[in-house]
Symmetry: none
Subunit: 419 residues, 2 copies
């Protein structure tokens, strides 16, 4: 089994604000091929320390991956320090310079002279193209070691690793296959999920299970280690089937989809449409729905009606309803859903009104009080929730609850239609 | 100035799910006393690697802090490996054993025999009491180096560090104050910013500068180290003033605000209001504007008009405009801005229409083509951009460009009003 080290480079990663997230993602990818991460280092733009770290890593581990320090400025020293650690020269690559110039021209800009620094390549190494940025990566492989230099921004690093590094590493790594599957659960806490799930997953010796809580949902990660992909897949299919029948409707995906993808897929399969009316989430639910490519097939319109006037003007919420029950109420939520459904002429409509804080809470309706309205072919209804957290978390949790409410309404209708 | 290294110990920290959060907290505490963190390492319960890491750290840095690996099980090797790295013996501390036994008795339990492991102490080191757990910490200080072993759980580690480690370190560190300031720049690339900024910041010897690029903007972080807070503040004020006059209007904050906070502050100061009409950003701009507490003061309504019908219905975009120029055009963007401004009755209105991809691009209007419309007291206009990246990045960059366009329109109006 190959061992790996990950080195995150950049003085900003040694401040109290920034943390290295690339290391977690790289670990997951490497683990899938049975490559174990033995050490992670975070080091600044500091030549003697970086040189020592890379040299030590090359001595200890089979695969060394660095992220960061490939930009065009003087701070960016990964290229030259890596070459020094390997005892190799840097060679100027004219073709790469031409490539960089072309890239800038396409964006209608002239390449700044300092970007020529990015055309230096370690002798004997391969260049890894960067589709999302100017910094090229480097892959150096010899019989003794593998050294990979990737840029720091995740959006650049990830596709480069998947397209150019993984295929080369998997060839070296050989015979263990680790496959992963993610189940996502909405509307249950971490310990409640574990209480149901652990008696099941503990009987699987070759599957490692991790239960994680992110801001809006509980995730169950399953890693199966087998000699063949078919074996791993079969065990994962069986285990995730057992877990999802034990956990019931709270499991919204067994294949790692996001909530917006699940809801989008259901709408597309049913050939139905959606509109949204948001107050306290301020457009977050619309943004999540439209994050999915092709969402224009089922999403036609969203209204962000932040003021009362906008609720009356655009959603036909009766002024008397606002006056009698307030903007944050079941009655207003239901009127908002009815209003946007009538305006947009969709099958389903979801509305949100609530108090995201930090101000605006009362004894009767504290910060975190949210009403989610629904209007559909079988009528209008609403639910009330009180969600914990700060403004950011309350908004996120509200958006998740709204999408989950829509999902459950569609499931109910489907099971009713079957009868 | 003292330099520090942080070593997080534990194989669980090398899985894809767990990340070391102690390092960020420790960095913040150390920085406040002018102690700079030069390196962070994450290493498993793996003797040869841990020994090498601690030895290297002691050679390179003045202060070495480890977290984790102080429990009673065989996996917990921090004590013996630290002793070996220092070339010191472990000495059994009977008093500490008695202390541990008392602790267990107080909880009504007998101390398990394996917990005797926690009574071994490095020769010449001080024991740090742990009020929230069984694992004691260790403080070893000599003329050459300081090595501190703390337990991994944050609620045990943090009070031990604050009560026992910080006072000892601050005595050694002396009198340095470090203050930070962040400038943010929109509409310029990282290298273009550095080309203008570096001749200025390089003349400040006691200020460390880091230039960072996040998905939508460039950040300039300035860290000033001085003997007094007043000195640090004065230098930061001078330097950020010089940088922002060199970079011009592209600098949207010198105090670390987000773009949505800047735009919100400007609207509030002017007593003016905003409405939004979004197509390809699907609610992201509304969501950003409403992320700021109190945004209901200046933001009344947003329309997410994803379909052509919604653009006609809710924004009064003429069908002829859509037919003649298409939904992604300057004409449609301007009609959208005019439409939402008329509907919501606001001072300013911003609209967005574009192609976020992955589908929908043409030769004339490739993926990333975006029109931003503006309607305000002085009329209606629009700009065309072609933004790089995937769907996620195009949407984020578009949202930033739209907010920045609004900011620049307000600045223009302010300077026009002055004349």
């Amino acid at each position: 089994m190959l061992s790996a080290e990950i080195i995150a480079i950049g003085s900003e990663l040694l401040t109290p604000e920034k943390t290295d997230t690339n290391g977690l993602w790289l670990t997951e990818k490497l683990n899938e091929f049975g490559i174990e991460v033995m050490l992670k280092t975070i080091v600044g733009d500091d030549e003697p320390r970086l040189l020592e770290v890379i040299k030590d890593a090359l001595k200890r581990s089979d695969v060394v991956i660095t992220t960061g320090g490939l930009g065009p400025t003087e701070d960016d020293i990964t290229r030259q320090v890596s070459a020094k650690a390997l005892g190799r020269e840097l060679i100027y690559n004219e073709g790469l310079e031409a490539e960089l110039r072309r890239r800038f021209q396409m964006m209608g800009r002239e390449m700044p002279e300092i970007n020529k620094r990015q055309a230096w390549v370690i002798e004997g190494a391969e260049v890894i193209a960067n589709p999302n940025g100017s910094a090229p990566g480097i892959y150096f492989g010899s019989n003794e070691c593998i050294l990979v230099n990737l840029p720091g921004p995740p959006r650049e690093m990830k596709p480069m690793f998947e397209q150019a590094v993984l295929p080369r590493l998997s060839e070296r790594a050989g015979e263990i296959i680790v496959k992963r599957r993610i189940l996502r659960v909405s509307g249950m806490g971490e310990s409640a999920v574990d209480a149901v799930a652990s008696p099941i997953y503990k009987t699987y010796e070759n599957v490692r299970t991790a239960i994680l809580f992110n801001k809006t949902e509980v995730e169950i990660h399953l890693y199966a280690r087998y000699a063949t992909e078919a074996d791993a897949d079969a065990v994962l299919a069986e285990l995730s089937e057992r877990l999802s029948s034990a956990l019931g409707v709270a499991v919204f995906t067994t294949t790692g989809e996001t909530m917006e993808e699940v809801v989008g897929r259901m709408l597309r399969e049913r050939g139905e449409t959606l509109s949204l009316a948001e107050s306290c989430t301020g457009g977050l639910v619309s943004r999540r729905i439209t994050e999915v490519p092709g969402s224009s097939e089922y999403f036609s319109e969203g209204a962000v009606t932040y003021s009362n006037e906008a609720k009356v003007r655009t959603l036909d919420v009766p002024e008397e309803t606002l006056a009698a029950y307030g903007a944050v109420s079941a009655e207003t939520a239901e009127a908002m859903a009815k209003g946007i459904r009538a305006r947009a002429g969709t099958d389903h409509a979801v509305s949100i009104t609530g108090i995201a804080g930090p101000g605006g809470g009362t004894e009767e309706k504290p910060v975190g009080t949210v009403f989610i309205g629904y209007a559909g072919p079988h009528g209008v209804r609403s639910i009330r929730l009180v969600l914990p957290g700060d403004r950011y978390l309350i908004r996120w949790r509200t958006s998740q609850a709204a999408l989950d409410h829509l999902r459950r309404q569609m499931l109910k209708q489907a099971s009713r239609d079957k009868l």
